[in-house]
């Protein structure tokens, strides 16, 4: 076998193996679940530089519980992160985006690479007085070598990109919902989610995303857009109890907060309580509606008191309820 044939054969084997490897790695996700991934991005307020996923402190544990709840309820990464950042002072995002006052953080390393390469090339092109002569004359084979090196670098870059994407991807199934569900919903626009939901309207699996989208509208104060989605989930017999409760309670709150319909609100929340009489959020919203809408301050105070007895209450919820309880006990008007 001539040297040339051998070279071509070996090169083909390498390329073939690289392709096989690429097809093998591109699908499998890492073991890191979404709760931990989100937790790793939030700085624990009471620790020194630790994320809430790593910190053993009580506050970090409370925050992780909250993340777990929200993930289970189908909220988007961004919504969960926004909630954490707004309800815990001192909680910070550990990978700030390349914009605003953290733009430089990302620009400096990028600039360093560009400047570094420029300096090296410039340095090489401006030899000093004692520059030695080239050891080997440039030849076509050397150029080929350089080209080969370049190809390797490009191949490597592709591998890195594919591998880093595989960290985000989940195994895909036939339905388009699952395709989107695995993704970080925070990077999906409302319009895309609407489209996917419309396309999968009959698929019960879409409820998670529908709820996430509705929560997003709800948090933006866009009750009008949130309403139809909550309604579908509330009426869907395939929805999980947790999903149905969330939808009913949100509908109830919107009926009260948006339209002042105390009776409708109470009825909707009672439906939620029929599913789970112990649901914290339902009990809280009901008490709040009765207090603000019907002036039942004492009853509300009793409910708040009972909710506070639950030792597993997330600390932000606890402080909210404590504040409400104080107001209710004073007989003050609701906030």
């Amino acid at each position: 076998m001539s040297e040339r044939v051998r070279t071509v054969a070996t090169a083909s084997v390498i390329v073939a193996m690289a392709i096989i490897l690429l097809t093998l790695v591109s699908t499998q996700p890492a073991n890191l679940d979404r709760v931990d991934a989100i937790g790793a991005r939030i700085k624990c307020p009471v620790c020194q530089g630790e994320s809430i996923a790593n910190s053993p402190s009580q506050m970090a544990r409370d925050m992780m519980d909250l993340v777990e709840d929200r993930v289970a309820a189908g909220a988007s990464d961004q919504a969960i992160i926004d909630e954490l950042l707004s309800s815990y002072t001192g909680a910070l995002l550990l990978d700030p985006p390349p914009s605003g006052n953290t733009l430089l953080l990302w620009l400096v390393p990028a600039a360093a690479v560009v400047i570094g390469i420029t300096v090296i090339l410039w340095w090489r092109a401006h030899p000093g007085s004692e520059a030695s002569k080239p050891a080997l004359p440039a030849s076509r084979s050397r150029r080929r070598l350089l080209a080969g090196g370049l190809i390797l670098v490009v191949a490597f870059a592709v591998i890195v990109v594919v591998a880093s994407n595989s960290l985000q991807e989940r195994p895909s199934t036939a339905s388009g919902v699952a395709d989107l569900e695995g993704q970080d919903l925070s990077e999906v626009s409302n319009e895309t989610m609407e489209a996917v939901i419309a396309a999968n309207a009959d698929n019960p699996e879409v409820n998670g995303m529908r709820l996430a989208l509705a929560e997003r509208y709800f948090e933006e104060g866009d009750y009008r857009s949130a309403f139809p989605h909550y309604l579908v989930v509330a009426e869907d017999t395939n929805a999980s109890p947790a999903q149905a409760i969330t939808a009913l309670v949100r509908l109830g709150w919107m009926a009260f907060d948006g339209n002042g319909e105390v009776a409708t609100a109470t009825r909707l929340v009672d439906e939620a309580l029929a599913i789970d009489p112990e649901s914290t959020v339902a009990l809280y919203v009901r008490a709040r509606v009765r207090w603000c809408g019907a002036g039942e301050a004492d009853e509300a105070a009793a409910v708040f008191q009972r909710l506070l007895d639950d030792p597993d209450l997330a600390s932000d919820t606890r402080s909210q309820i404590e504040a409400d309880l104080a107001l209710a006990l004073e007989g003050a008007g609701c906030p």
Binding site: L21, L24, T102, W123, E130, L136, V162, L167
Partner: protein, 671 residues
């Protein structure tokens, strides 16, 4: 009494350091001056200071406020000894001692064979000594006496040894986290040898700049110290990670914490420096760049000390609460401004050194590696300091943490692995046509094969597969080169292959030592990839007698236990770990209580070939225990790899010594 002795030691060391600067400058200018005497004085003073501190700790002398505030009569060995570096003032004493030892080593060589460069370097080391021993006499005085005792500890102290002592009866003991594991006793000294060792190449660089002799002499003279510093720094980082893993109970070993970053940055720059220093020694290139690197490495050790010891990390506002922060920051500015001013005055040197002919050469790959390592260090630097700078200048608060560093550093680490493979097999000056292809096609096939096998049998997670492939690539390139050279010799001499392999290694030990470090780096990368990407986690509540299944283990919770030890109370749970109904080990995850402070949750770890089982207590009461269960797959590869990296450094050091003493013997034989 001990306060007198310690302060006297510090004063003597300070005097010795001052004398060293004065005489060093004189000798560097061509005069003659004895530098051995002052260096002995510095060393003696530093030993007396550390000795006084140790005696005070071992005899529970609470009249020293450092002892009263950081020691307790119940602190057991070796933590009583280690308390000397458990807090700021004591750690500066250790710093001073290590600096004194390095200074003395340089001075011994200098008295044997005096020259202006060595004298100038000693003057610089004396200057650094003045700063640190000066700290001990002023803002970080470890020998202050207590003048206002508390029930435990000391409320106010006086720097004057003759002040009237108000003797505390007992102290609170060192920070519980630090006395929870023996690793914390040895981690600081190891790390400090690394930090302080970098003073030597820095001093020689400044000496060379001041004398206007940019040739490779300063590199040659400081090379061994650089290797010592680099090896110990790496080992120190490893011990820190291991300690975090064994003590901090979150199952991790590295969190891109500012304290960790402070040690990583000088290591990265020193690694770049070792490579680019080789380029200058072999090819006379990169003179200016080597100065930049070594000044940066030294400045980063000071920056690291500033960040970790001034309290600035906890809060920008604590900066002014202690004078140590401004003192360290001022010294850092002095080092940077002074060094770079001197450097720019000699900038014509940068223009005169030769250039590389081609990037396809050892020096070309080293250039790429230097770019990557420098960018790496810069990423760590900006990520660590950005929140501080932003808050200091604008008041805005941002967090920069693990996700930021991982996003940038992980791809960079993979690129570094790729270049290691190229660098190892590429000859100096330039590779002949086809050589690289011949040397790398084999490793390429093996690496891809290893990746495919991993993907088919172990995991398809991209980062893990890539780490295995690139790790194999590095190892295969190194081993392939060794086999190639041994074969060539075998064909020439006819001696057996294994003998020739040994000869190849023996003939160029520093090179093969470096390759051993590279294999260590590959092991570290694979270990991290597994442990970071494939851990399992669960939480269970168990009552005595109940069992749980987790990751192939059967865990049976036997009973709670409570043990009183001299310095702590250990409360925990006994858990039997079974695999296939065979008892493997009884683990005791616990909460350790030191005095009044809150308990330290301490994990129990069972190590097996495929990784660790990591048990942590979440809560414990009489009838039920809540456990966190984690696995750390292949994490032992990380420890093994880290030790291998450092081992390469030590081997190179020993080999150089052997080469040098052989040369000296030959010389003497001829004379």
């Amino acid at each position: 009494m001990l306060s007198f002795l310690g302060s006297a030691g510090v004063a003597a060391a300070l005097a010795g350091a001052s004398l060293l600067v004065w005489r060093g400058v004189k000798a560097a200018r061509g005069g003659t001056a004895d530098l051995g005497g002052p260096s002995k004085l510095v060393l003696a003073g530093a030993i007396v200071a550390m000795g006084a501190m140790q005696v005070a700790l071992l005899t529970d002398d609470f009249s020293l406020s450092y002892v009263a505030n950081h020691h307790s009569s119940t602190t057991p060995f070796p933590f009583d000894v280690a308390t000397a570096w458990a807090a700021l003032e004591g750690s500066i004493v250790l710093w001073g001692l290590v600096l004194a030892v390095f200074t003395r080593i340089v001075a011994v060589r200098q008295t044997r064979d005096p020259d202006p460069l060595g004298a100038a370097a000693l003057a610089v080391m004396g200057g650094v000594g003045i700063f640190f021993f000066g700290l001990m006499l002023t803002v970080a005085n470890p020998f202050e006496v207590c003048v206002d005792a508390l029930a435990t500890g000391c409320a106010a102290s006086s720097p004057w040894p003759w002040a009237t002592v108000d003797l505390p009866v007992e102290g609170p003991g060192p920070n519980p986290l630090l006395q929870n594991h023996f690793l914390m006793a040895i981690h600081p000294p190891v790390l400090y040898i690394g930090y302080v060792g970098l003073t030597v190449p820095f001093a020689f660089a400044i000496g060379a700049l001041a004398l206007g002799s940019p040739g490779p002499e300063w590199l040659r003279r400081s090379h061994r110290s650089t290797l010592v510093a680099w090896s110990f720094l790496g080992l120190g980082i490893l011990l820190g990670g291991w300690w975090a893993y064994e003590v901090l109970s979150w199952g991790g070993y590295w969190a891109w914490d500012p304290v960790e970053n402070a040690s990583l940055m000088p290591w990265l720059v020193a690694t770049a420096f070792i490579h680019s220093g080789l380029v200058q020694q072999r090819r006379g290139m990169l003179q200016a760049w080597n100065f930049v690197l070594v000044i940066s490495a030294f400045a980063l050790t000071i920056l690291g000390t500033f960040l970790t010891r001034s309290g600035t990390i906890n809060s920008v506002h604590s900066f002014t609460q202690s004078a140590i922060g401004p003192a360290l920051l001022g010294f850092l500015v002095l080092v940077l401004v002074g060094s770079f001013t001197l450097f720019s005055m000699r900038s014509q040197m940068a223009a005169t050194s030769p250039r590389i002919e081609t990037f396809v050469s050892r020096e070309g790959t080293f250039l790429v590696n230097n770019l990557l390592l420098s960018v790496y260090a810069l990423i760590v630097l900006i990520g660590t300091t950005y929140p501080l700078l932003l808050e200091a200048f604008t008041g805005d608060q941002v967090g920069v943490g693990e996700p930021f560093f991982n996003r940038l550093a992980v791809p960079l680490s993979y690129l570094l692995l790729l270049t290691i493979g190229f660098g190892a097999v590429t000859p100096w000056r330039g590779a002949a046509s086809g050589l690289l292809w011949r040397r790398l096609r084999g490793p390429g096939v093996i690496a891809l094969g290893a990746g495919i096998i991993t993907a088919l049998t172990v995991t398809r997670v991209g980062w893990v597969v890539l780490a295995v492939a690139l790790g194999t690539w590095v190892a295969a390139a190194v081993v392939g080169l060794l086999v190639e050279q041994a074969r060539t010799r075998e064909a020439k001499t006819g001696r057996p292959f294994v003998t020739e392999m040994r000869t190849v290694i023996r003939n160029d030990q520093p090179f093969w030592a470096g390759q051993l470090s590279h294999i260590g780096v590959a092991l570290v990368a694979v270990g991290i990839a597994f442990a970071a990407n494939l851990p399992l986690h669960a939480e269970v509540d168990l009552q005595p007698g109940q069992s749980a299944q987790f990751a192939g283990f059967d865990l049976v919770y036997q009973s709670p236990f409570r043990r009183t030890e001299p310095n702590r109370i250990v409360e925990g749970a006994r858990v039997d770990v079974y695999i296939d109904d065979r008892l493997q080990e009884t683990l005791e995850p616990s909460v350790n209580f030191y005095g009044e402070s809150a308990g330290i949750v301490t994990p129990a770890v069972m190590t097996r070939a495929e990784g660790d089982l990591y048990l942590t207590l979440r809560s414990i009461d009489s009838d039920s225990v809540s456990f966190a269960l984690d696995t750390s797959p292949m994490v032992w590869l990380l420890w093994l790899g880290g030790i291998t990296v450092a081992a390469g450094g030590f081997w190179s050091l020993a080999a150089r010594r052997a080469v040098r003493s052989a040369a000296r013997e030959r010389e003497q034989a001829i004379v």
